[in-house]
Amino acid sequence: MHLELQPGELAFLVGPSGAGKTTILKLINREIRPTHGQVIVAGIAAHLLKASRVAELRRRVGVVFQDYKLLPRLTALENVAFALQVADLRISDEEARDRSLDALEAVGLGDRGSALPHQLSGGQQQRVAIARAVVAKPLLLIADEPTGNLDQETAWEIMDLFSDIAAWGTAVLVATHNVEIVTRLQRRVLTLVDGRLVRDQQAGQIGRMAWLASS
């Protein structure tokens, strides 16, 4: 397959279970290395990257998971600041705090910074995860089933956030099964079947293959 995302573009990755959506995301983030082919992310050849240099790539890619993956002992603010400071030791506590607060405010949680993850709803936890993913201003944001554990209303809120993030210039790639969102948002839709890209539907179109996302 050949796939290219532009800055500021929001795209959905759809397809039946086992089609390879998560694999694509893992290839982008260099969690796995391709047996052949090329993966270029923000100018870095991920397929050639040594294990010791993977961190350089990951600092340019934000990641959001279905299960949020927040550290339970840290507050929302600390979760975001932790991500910022472990990736760059030159960031002071004050700067990390300010930038983390900005990120939390951007996702609508400016007043919940001191809350622990278990004190937040699923939607709020996912917002914290998004704040963590974007706080370092990545060039690309990838999300694996980010609305899988959320109700439809909250899912829409999360998708609104992704749209806002894309509007500020970050490329966003979302793997999802949520047909309603994919259909109504009318963004670019990449349909995978058995590891192959069977359709690349540009934004604003409604494709006949959209049903594949509902498996």
Binding site: A51, V54, A55, R58, R60, L71, V86, L89, R90, A136
Partner: protein
């Protein structure tokens, strides 16, 4: 504008301070917190490592003493004492002395009188009582030869043992094969000690590596997040290596203190007898052994962690 004073810090110094603070918190602070949290799981590792390091310290001191003993025996083996008859004529002794001095196989010849032999015997533990028990001086005068080549000892012994000046009952100190027997014993002890330490080392490394494996498992979410947000590999692994080093340092400290206590105690209790039994082992040697044990503990702990990380941590 009067009265406004700006107090800016030198940016580079501030940057160094920030990096140092973050490093201390994310690597050392994190390691210390997790070490305390995992103390129950680490205890077997501390125990086995302490035992290994204690044995290393004691075997090391014993090995050092054996090495010195072997060196002493090697020097002694090339010395041949030719014991003189109590009633030997001066001319006979002089004649023998001249003959030996002119022999190219002999490096030096020195004379030890009966009084000097007695004085020397009295400096050896156990012998003063024997010397005092006898009314007369039982120790013979001797000509002490330093032989160039240890293989010539037998020939020189054969040359002098029937001389008129030489005691007919105990003519010389020559004991064929004595040095070789000592070498064999020392070699056997070294091999046994090394094998024992290897076995203990394997157990200690395995137990420590397993405790780090458990720590990796317990913190897998944190590790995943650190890896996904782009934390450098050394920063993800650093806390585990420090954690292993803390375990090793604690075990090394305990083992070092016990090694020092046993060594210093033995030196104090044994005084002159200890010097004969373990030549070269002094308080300074024991301190060096204790510090060595501590350093070995830190190395072993961090090394075991590294092995575990290589095997169990994914990128």
């Amino acid at each position: 504008m009067a009265g406004i004073v700006l107090k800016g810090r030198f940016p580079r110094r501030r940057l160094i301070q920030i990096v140092a603070t973050n490093l201390a918190r994310q690597v050392f602070g994190s390691a210390a917190r997790n070490w305390v949290r995992n103390l129950a799981g680490t205890t077997p590792a501390i125990g086995s490592m302490t035992l290994l390091l204690l044995m290393t310290g004691l075997v090391g001191l014993s090995g050092f003493a054996l090495y010195n003993l072997e060196q002493y025996e090697a020097a002694q083996a090339s010395v041949l004492h030719v014991y003189l008859r109590d009633n030997a004529a001066y001319q006979d002794v002089d004649s023998l002395w001249d003959r030996l001095s002119n022999d190219p196989r002999v490096a030096t010849v020195t004379y030890t009188s009966k009084a000097q032999a007695l004085a020397h015997a009295q400096s050896i533990p156990g012998l003063p009582a024997l010397a005092d028990a006898s009314g007369s001086n039982p120790f013979p005068a001797s000509l002490d030869l330093q032989v160039n080549n240890i293989n010539d000892m037998g020939a020189i012994d054969g040359m002098v043992r029937y001389d008129l000046a030489v005691d007919s009952v105990t003519p010389t100190s020559y004991d064929p094969g004595a040095y070789q027997r000592i070498q064999q014993v020392v070699f056997g002890l070294a091999v046994a000690g090394l094998a024992f330490l290897c076995l203990l080392g394997f157990v200690a490394i395995t137990v420590t590596a397993n405790s780090i494996k458990a720590a990796i498992h317990a913190r897998r979410d944190e590790i995943t997040i650190m890896q996904l947000v782009g934390a450098p590999r050394w920063m993800v692994r650093g806390p585990f290596i420090v954690e292993g080093a803390i375990t090793g340092a604690l075990a090394g400290l305990v083992a070092g203190v016990v090694t020092f206590g046993l060594g210093a105690g033995a030196i104090t209790a044994g005084s002159s007898g200890f010097a004969e039994f373990a030549p070269g082992v002094t308080v300074a040697t024991v301190v060096v052994a204790a510090v060595g044990v501590l350093v070995a503990g830190v190395t072993l702990g961090s090394g075991s962690s590294l092995i575990s990380l290589r095997r169990h941590m994914e990128t």
